[in-house]
């Protein structure tokens, strides 16, 4: 009721702040989806807005970053890794590592050979699916 009644100035005076047209484009990019009724489109947009708010405020609250008055990428990445609800984001919000560490990782992967790479690929498919 609070959200519905919120009256803000100008373009903020809407029931949902995210553009339905853009949400629709993303939804339709899924090949298995035939059609979407208008209510479903609205709900998805509204849910996405709630999701963004949840992700941002949760990450801010639990962030262990150095900056206190900022929401940083690291905060988000932490959330994806540590909170089960947001685990589906882990792949797109990877932890940042030092370049030197990354290079060492690459070296190790090379040494481990073909087999390991195949295993990684399988894991990736599962995660995405």
């Amino acid at each position: 009721a609070e959200m519905a009644a919120a009256r803000l100035s100008g373009s903020e005076n809407r029931l949902v702040s995210l553009p339905l047209s853009r949400i629709r484009v993303i939804m339709k990019s899924s090949p298995e989806v035939s059609s979407i009724n208008q209510d479903a489109l609205f709900l998805t947009a509204k849910a996405t807005e709630l999701f963004v708010q949840y992700l941002a405020t949760y990450s801010y609250k639990h962030g262990r970053g150095k900056e206190k008055n900022a929401l940083t990428y690291t905060d988000l990445s932490h959330t994806a890794e540590e909170c089960e609800t947001f685990q589906f984001l882990a792949d797109i919000l990877p932890k940042k590592i030092l370049a030197s560490k990354y290079l060492k990782m690459l070296e190790k992967e090379k040494q481990d050979g073909e087999v390991r790479e195949d295993e990684d690929e399988e894991e990736e498919d599962e995660a995405v699916g």
Binding site: A1, T48, Y73, E84
Partner: protein, 144 residues
């Protein structure tokens, strides 16, 4: 180098420019990187929710995703906390849509009677027509 999931260039990332959407306390800054990451996360969320909702639609042997499918998807995805506020918003949305339809119909009626120059009776008699039209409109998928 093996293809990494994080390299996936998500189509049409939702670029969220407006601050108030995030609902963070006053004075909190969002780094550019964080903003971009949230936009990508939002797109992933849409895809995940759509896929989930579609599963429910298919279970119900329907080809069109409906409101119930999306709500079921939220529960499935462990976002039960969204269900109540979503239902409330949906009610307001439906009322708004209905209001718009009425307004459009009144506008059309006016235009018609002016064009055709026929004398029309008052709203009462048009109730049957209106009900029929509403049924048709509920099924159509409206483009924005």
């Amino acid at each position: 180098m093996a293809e990494r999931p994080e390299d996936l260039n998500l189509p049409n990332a939702l670029l969220i420019q407006v601050e108030f959407v995030f609902q963070l306390p006053d004075g909190v800054n969002i780094s550019k990187e964080a903003r971009s990451a949230i936009s990508r996360a939002a797109s992933v969320f849409v895809l995940y929710a759509t896929s989930c909702a579609n599963n429910f639609a298919m279970k119900g042997k329907r080809k069109t995703l409906n409101a119930g499918d999306v709500l079921s998807a939220m529960e499935e995805m462990e976002f039960q906390r969204f269900v109540a506020p979503l239902k409330e918003s949906l009610e307001v949305y439906r009322r708004e849509q209905k209001g718009k339809k009425e307004a459009r119909k009144d506008k059309d009626k006016k235009a018609d009677s002016e064009e055709q120059d026929k004398s029309r009776e008052e709203d009462n008699d048009d109730d049957d027509e209106r009900m029929e039209e509403e049924e048709q409109n509920d099924e159509e998928e409206v483009d924005n």
